[in-house]
Symmetry: C2
Subunit: 217 residues, 2 copies
DNA sequence: AATTCTTTCAAACGTTTGTTTGAATTTGCA
DNA sequence: TGCAAATTCAAACAAACGTTTGAAAGAATT
């Protein structure tokens, strides 16, 4: 088996699909446009991935796996370095946001696009995709939720879970739409500055999470 | 001309399309599935709307117009009732969020779905749709942005615009995904309670907007 | 060199897509 | 009632869709 040629074809398809999914969406992207961009035969998609649905999941898995692995590693590292001390909210937020945001400012050309894709998948209607994501994010969600729970001890459950939800919204929206802040602000915001995006997002979310409870039980 | 029959056909198409767009997305919804649900002839779509793209915009416009009109009215009312006094952040947030959120708890069965659709359109890749939305939201955006600017006087421009962006993210995510909070929280959150959603969202966003600046210029 | 497995390819499969046509039907107005 | 406009309808259009096929080409193993 030609390891390199196989990898090249598969990778070409993944790269092309990734870009087109960002531009046109999953349903809006045809396999024919993918193989045209990748310069491979259309049958190669089904040979290497089996179906369009599986291709979508492969595109996502390739990026989500390292991101979510690093998220877990960084949270574990925070716990270890802190000993028995309390976790700091901003540290946990950075550990959660940065692995995804760094891809946006990363070196490889395509990596900028995938960030938008990751932000968008949560609002995709496909049930199969939602189940797939639930699996991929379970560990990250459980670990970070309990970390936040340790920090926000005084917050009632009701407020806590709502705010986790809002936090995900701010994060997904930021990942998804890389142009709006620049347009809205007339060029003041710089989405290319990974540090700026991260610190602004951390400050906003931390402020939201720490806000006084609305008085729920 | 039979006003009622015409209206009925057009409305049936709009209602059916609205529900299917929520379930399957714009690209994932075929006109044939729309006319099947609406129980009308397929040619009726092009007779009344011209094209699928125009149908999409008509579905959105029907709901967005009253929502955005009420948003502007409520902000104007706030300004008037306050006289020369300062606007209160929470009041402005409620004026912005409630017209959309109220549809979720509204009486008519279909209205629950459209809220999810409104939350999702911002992450739609279609350029034509983005231009359409930019037009529809211009007034609301400009008026509310200047209102927030009056309130958050001490916030640097950089922080201000980023936070407007994050606020939209939390709002869209909340509108878009009506099940996640319930699932995440194991039933603690109640998305059916319009008051609960509104006050939780207002508290989080207000906390985020009021957070200390990260030290930008 | 012969053989087996992997990978690529052009071509076609049947379906479904958005859109159009032209005739039939219904409606509003004189 | 009669005419003209508005609306509905069945049928068909070309194009694009995801998927499959079976043979050709390539790589690895014996």
């Amino acid at each position: 088996m030609s390891e390199s040629s196989t990898t090249d074809t598969k990778t070409s398809i993944l790269d092309a699909a990734e870009m087109l999914f960002v531009e046109k969406g999953f349903d809006g992207t045809s396999l024919r446009s993918v193989v045209a961009k990748a310069d491979v035969n259309i049958a190669a998609v089904h040979y290497h991935f089996g179906s369009k649905e599986s291709l979508i999941q492969a595109v996502l898995a390739r990026r989500l796996e390292p991101i979510n692995r690093e998220r877990l590693e960084r949270l574990a590292a925070l716990r270890e370095s802190n000993g028995k001390g309390e976790l700091q909210l901003e540290d946990v937020l950075r550990a959660l946001f940065e692995p995804a945001l760094r891809l946006a400012g990363g070196g490889e050309p395509g990596s900028n696009n995938i960030v938008r894709l990751i932000g968008r998948i949560f609002s995709e209607p496909s049930h199969a995709l939602q189940l797939f994501l639930k699996d991929r994010f379970r560990d990250v969600f459980e670990n970070y939720t309990s970390a936040f729970r340790e920090i926000l001890t005084e917050l009632p459950d009701l407020d806590f879970y709502w705010r986790i939800h809002f936090m995900l919204g701010a994060m997904c929206h930021t990942l998804c739409d890389r142009e709006r802040p620049v347009i809205l602000s007339g060029g003041v915001c710089d989405v290319e500055s990974q540090h700026e995006v991260l610190e602004q997002l951390v400050a906003f979310v931390a402020g939201g999470l720490r806000a006084q409870s609305t008085g729920g039980k």
